[in-house]
């Protein structure tokens, strides 16, 4: 790294929100440094694994169908958060989302209409051509063109904050500690979902069996430093977004391919061979997040989705092969579940299935009667070999704990808003998304608040500068 110099804006983090902030500041003329903890090949935080962002629009565009109004977007946000949202900030995000695609394109981002597998999002979500890593490549290239100083492998381990003012960050780069001084700072370093110790503090030993769907670099260091420095927290510190994913996924960075879409087509049992929840309660995209928590509550945090040959081809292919057997008892042996219990569970289930017309596209009338719990839709007898099992574990996507901000993205400290500390992305998403999730909204929050944070960080610096210049002239 270059010899010590003072930047106007330091951005801590290297994902979508960080780059949106860096670009917003640099396009206004700021000298910006981006401190990305990951090496270059894994840059981009969890944005690497994303695919789209939700945005309102009043008329069809080249990439979005029909319209998605401000009110509808707000209603969706209020519904999924159950009201756990700052409506002022939420409305800022919703309104600004209308301009997001245009802004993104100015930085070289390429968007595409949604294709076959994702048609249900074609009205509400703009898709990044090639996905989130391609998005981040475009942003980093734009940042480099504009002279933003990007440092990889830069681990922020300390923040020097005095009287609500950020002065410098202590950064470990290639094992050497350095001070990075800047006149304002944007915190965009994500949540703490890949900090296994922190997760264990909350969930105990169960956390050992959690898989982290995204980057291993979101350890919440900056979040913790800020909270210790007196930032007001927001969002439930014990909550995370957890999805039921394939238990064979890597510990980190498994991303999208570890999802399993077959739960609603069969039954799910725990390690004792017992069912524990209605697999057909609603469409899978509306239930996959509930299943992460459900599996986390089962013994050893493991469950098995069991389907028969009738389900094959009805769900997205999975990256890991199914565990297959010609009978339920053989299958039980392969997944180490008591064969007698599993056979009895399947037998009871088959006996309880009421006649109906199967339709996976609708909440059909195929259900069971007299079971605890019942399966209320898509219940079909498991009677056609081969029988397939997919093991499930909780896959953690993100955490809700963050720092409180105002509409200018200023971080709220105990004594009032910080003078030159701003936040964007997952580290402040809890202001808007107190709980729940709706596809693509994390990227919308990061994009909108990244822009606000970068702009405001620069505005503070430039008005300081003009004020001091004026002062000089007056003197």
């Amino acid at each position: 790294m270059a010899p010590p110099e003072v930047y106007e804006v330091a951005v801590l983090g290297g994902g979508n929100a960080a780059l949106c902030a860096a670009l917003a500041a640099s396009e206004r003329g700021a000298r910006v440094i981006v401190l990305e903890r990951a090496p270059r090949v894994f840059r981009g935080g969890n944005s690497r694994h994303t695919r789209n962002l939700r945005c309102m629009h009043t008329a069809p565009t080249d990439i979005l169908t029909e319209s998605y109004s401000e009110d509808e977007f707000m209603t969706d946000l209020l519904r999924v958060t159950g009201g756990a949202t700052n409506e002022t900030l939420a409305r800022i995000v919703v309104r600004a989302s209308a301009d997001a695609p245009g802004r993104m394109r100015r930085f070289g981002v390429r968007l595409q209409p949604s294709l076959r597998g994702t048609l249900h999002l074609g009205r509400t979500n703009a898709f990044f051509l090639g996905g989130g890593k391609a998005l981040m490549n475009s942003y980093y290239a734009a940042a480099e063109r504009r002279g933003v100083h990007v440092v990889y492998d830069a681990d922020v381990i300390g923040l020097q904050i005095h009287d609500g003012r950020f002065e410098s960050a202590t950064v470990r780069i290639n094992g050497r500690e350095q001070q990075v001084r800047a006149r304002s700072v944007v915190l965009a370093a994500g949540g703490f979902e890949s900090n296994l110790e922190w997760l264990k503090e909350i969930w105990g030993d169960a956390a050992d069996n959690f898989l982290i769907r995204g980057t291993p670099y979101n350890t919440g260091t900056v979040l913790k430093l800020m909270l210790d420095a007196g930032a007001e927290p927001v969002g439930d510190p014990t909550q995370c977004h957890a999805v039921a994913i394939d238990a064979r996924a890597p510990k980190f960075d498994g991303g999208i391919v570890t999802r399993l879409d077959c739960v609603s087509l069969g039954i799910v049992v725990n390690k004792h061979g017992d069912r524990f929840y209605d697999e057909g309660e609603d469409f899978w995209p509306k239930r996959y997040a509930i299943w992460g928590r459900l599996v986390a509550q089962q013994p050893d945090q493991i469950a098995y989705s069991i389907i028969d040959a009738k389900a094959v081809g009805r769900f997205m292919p999975s990256v890991f092969p199914p565990i297959a057997a010609a009978s339920i008892r053989e299958l039980a042996a392969l997944i180490h579940v008591p064969a007698g219990t599993l056979a009895a569970t399947v037998e009871r289930f088959n006996g309880a299935v009421r006649p109906g017309i199967f339709n996976h596209e609708a909440l059909d009338d195929c259900r069971t009667d007299g079971l605890v719990p019942n399966k209320t839709h898509w219940a079909q007898r498991l009677d056609t070999p081969p029988f397939w099992a997919y093991p499930l574990r909780p896959g953690i996507t993100f955490t809700y704990l963050g720092v409180k901000v105002d509409e200018r993205a200023r971080v709220a400290l105990r004594g009032g808003p910080a003078a030159n500390i701003f936040a964007a992305g997952e580290i402040m998403a809890g202001n808007i998304l107190g709980k729940g999730y709706v596809a693509g909204v994390g990227m919308t929050i990061g994009t909108v608040f990244g822009e606000i944070a970068g702009r405001e960080a620069w505005r503070g610096v430039s008005s300081d500068a003009s004020a001091s210049q004026t002062g000089h002239r007056a003197g």
């Binding site: 090949v41 690497r48 694994h49 695919r51 070289g108 390429r110 595409q112 294709l115 076959r116 597998g117 898709f127 051509l129 090639g130 996905g131 989130g132 890593k133 391609a134 490549n137 475009s138 980093y140 290239a141 890597p250 960075d253 991303g255 999208i256 391919v257 999802r259 094959v312 081809g313 997205m316 292919p317 999975s318 990256v319």
Partner: protein
């Protein structure tokens, strides 16, 4: 009985199957090119399926740079590189005669042997004339047939050309059988059903415009976030240069056989104009592709595929160069040496056609037709 030309599950096949399984659960790349659209039509991948997808791939870099699972991620997804290795294997597997398949593994040796054979053959062809004909020492200006008689030239190139066509044809047939759906006993000929609106017509447009090197409306990347048209343009120079040279020879043959007009032809005549423009294309295109290859990210292409390029480009370039020199210096007394040299390159070029990079064109065309046919369903 149907012989399977790809009976062995090679490393490249197994790796391709792994990568397509990961890709098919992700699908983020589906808007880039037909490879991913064709992939989505399948739940599992036979060796034929991956050979088809590999030959549909135009070896740009979009999907590698966009991939969240690219090396060093433990899934290690690098579709351009893996498919480039598998393509060479599919060329070798389809080669006829089968004992010629190792030629794909030693492209420089193959080229050198072919050149030596070509030089010998053209020298012998010329030598038949040396015996008892004083004109050889001082041939009439630009009189090629005084060096190698027309009949000898036609016979020699007829045999070599026929061999190349037969070998390519058999290879093509083996290839389309290897990528056919095993559930269909007798795959339809990819050439069935012509016309602009037919799958063949659509695939021809895809091939002639290299559509899938700029399928999104912009050129595909050849390095991270670098979209440059050079690879496409240089390929166009090469391909259309080759076509023009072919047209030149065909026109000259018609002049000779139908009208009895014997070479040499004037510099303003159709065969010479076609040949000159085509020849220039074959200098610029291969030289350009060579330079594009040199600065290409090695992560995009497997070494076995990359090593096929240089000998083929060199042969195109040198065949064209010797042809243009022959044209420019055909009045000179050393014309016979130039002619023999040029004929050696042309002979070697034709002999190596079925055993080098040239085959990518016909196999890719077959894959494009198959893709268009599947899309019509």
């Amino acid at each position: 009985m149907r012989a399977d030309p790809l009976p062995v599950l090679t490393d490249a096949t197994v790796k391709s199957q792994h990568e397509m399984t990961v890709c098919n659960s992700c699908r983020y790349c589906e808007a880039y090119c037909p490879v991913f659209q064709a992939m989505e039509e399948r739940l599992t991948f036979t060796s034929g399926d991956v050979a088809y997808l590999a030959n549909l791939c135009h070896n740009c870099g979009e999907c590698l740079y966009a991939c969240q699972y690219a090396p060093p991620h433990e899934f290690g997804i690098d579709v351009p590189k893996t498919f480039s290795a598998l393509r060479v294997e599919s060329y070798a597997a389809a080669a006829w005669p089968a004992f010629a398949a190792p030629a794909f593994r030693s492209p420089w040796t193959t080229t050198a042997v072919a050149l030596a054979a070509g030089a010998l053959a053209s020298a012998l062809a010329a030598r038949t004339l040396w015996v008892g004909d004083a004109r050889v020492a001082f041939p009439a200006a630009a009189d090629f047939y005084s060096v190698v008689p027309h009949d000898v030239m036609v016979t020699l190139f007829g045999i070599v050309g026929l061999f190349a066509v037969v070998a390519l044809g058999i290879g093509y047939r083996r290839f389309i059988r290897s990528i056919a759906d095993p559930n269909i006993a007798d795959p339809p000929s990819p050439l069935r059903g012509f016309g602009a609106a037919s799958p063949v017509g659509a695939a021809a447009r895809d091939a002639l415009t290299l559509k899938h090197l700029h399928a999104t409306g912009e050129d595909c990347v050849d390095a991270e976030e670098k979209r440059r048209p050079w690879r496409r343009w240089m390929h166009h120079c090469t391909f259309y240069g080759f076509l023009l040279c072919f047209a030149s020879t065909s026109v000259a043959a018609i002049y000779h056989v139908v009208f009895g007009w014997v070479a040499p032809y004037a510099y303003t005549s159709l065969p010479v104009v076609l040949g000159t423009v085509g020849g220039l294309g074959l200098l610029v295109g291969p030289a350009g592709l060579f330079l594009v290859d040199r600065r290409r990210d090695p992560a995009l292409t497997h070494s076995t595929q990359a090593s096929l390029d240089a000998p083929f480009l060199a042969m195109l370039f040198l065949t064209s160069l010797t042809g243009l020199l022959l044209l420019a210096l055909r009045e000179k007394t050393f014309m016979p040496s130039l002619l023999i040299g040029h004929l050696a390159f042309v002979l070697a070029f034709f002999v190596t056609l079925p055993y080098g990079k040239f085959v990518h064109g016909i196999y890719r065309a077959a894959a494009l037709v198959k893709f268009r046919r599947e899309s019509n369903h």
